[in-house]
């Protein structure tokens, strides 16, 4: 599981460098995210632009990361590809996440809120 984390504009941006987030790697994703978010950052942005396929296990793992951060910290999602977007839409989980078109969009929103 390849996850790359970097601090940008006060947010922790985590890129999931995997073509799939599914039943085969969802648990590993959760475990690695738990370590990564040990870093202090008020806001975590998950860059999902490389993920071409997400199933219900992958979705559950993303929800569990959101719950690890709540209630003090926030998880934003960015760069959902069409297939991934469809899963969020069908399950209506797009109503509980802040979803941005790209990481730069997500960061711009953060700057605006801060200003």
């Amino acid at each position: 599981m390849n996850l790359f984390a970097e601090a940008r504009n006060g947010a922790l941006v985590v890129q999931v460098d995997e073509a799939r987030l599914d039943a085969a790697n969802a648990i590993r994703f959760k475990d690695q995210m738990r370590d990564i978010i040990a870093q202090p950052a008020q806001r975590v942005i998950l860059d999902m632009s490389v993920i071409g396929f997400l199933d219900s296990s992958g979705l559950g793992a993303v929800v569990s990361v959101m719950k690890m951060l709540a209630p003090e910290r926030q998880l934003d999602l960015a760069g959902l590809t069409p297939n991934v977007q469809k899963v969020f839409h069908l399950t209506r989980m797009d109503t509980v996440f802040r979803i941005h078109a790209s990481v730069s969009d997500a960061l711009a929103v953060g700057m605006r809120d801060a200003g």
Partner: protein, 168 residues
């Protein structure tokens, strides 16, 4: 040489549908990596006949059905086999999946009058329970049959494009 290749490609493009595969059949060990491989193989078989959206739907439904068998049908690392068959017909992709795992709970197939009753409430931040909702949302003619120790699940994935007809 290059002209030959172009001519071949053109010939393939014109007569291709005649050779488009109509059937996929695959038996594999019930574990997550074998499911991934089966998905890749099934998708590769039908990719030319599918839009990007349809390919995504096919992969999602199959992933949910197959991983459900791995996690709940067999479960706890018990060894098992899954057989997946897909046939391209006039109305889409007709799929059947069989395994020797435990009986599928009736609740999985229920589609109550109020569909909201059977799906996880997003506000409660559910981490599971999405799988069967996705299957019921995306698949048609979902049917289940238990025969002896076998489970047989059948469903159809509708496709927009008509069934390719043989070239004259």
């Amino acid at each position: 040489m290059l002209a030959n290749r172009v001519a071949e490609k053109e010939a393939f493009r014109r007569t291709g549908p005649r050779h488009d595969p109509q059937i996929f059949h695959h038996s594999f060990v019930a574990d997550p990596m074998s499911v991934r491989q089966a998905l890749r193989a099934a998708l590769a078989r039908f990719l030319r006949q599918l839009s990007e959206d349809e390919a995504g739907t096919l992969e999602l439904i199959l992933a949910e059905v197959l991983n459900n068998i791995v996690e709940h049908g067999y479960g706890d690392g018990l060894p098992g086999t899954i057989t997946l068959s897909i046939v391209r017909d006039r109305r889409g992709l007709s799929c059947s999946v069989s395994d020797d795992g435990v009986v599928l709970p009736a609740s999985a197939l229920l589609n109550p009058a109020d569909p909201a009753q059977s799906r996880p409430d997003p506000a409660s931040l559910p981490e599971g329970g999405f799988g069967w909702c996705l299957i019921r949302d995306l698949a048609e003619d979902l049917g289940y049959h238990r025969e002896g120790n076998h489970n047989l699940l059948a469903f159809r994935i509708p496709l927009v494009a008509p069934l390719p007809t043989a070239a004259p």
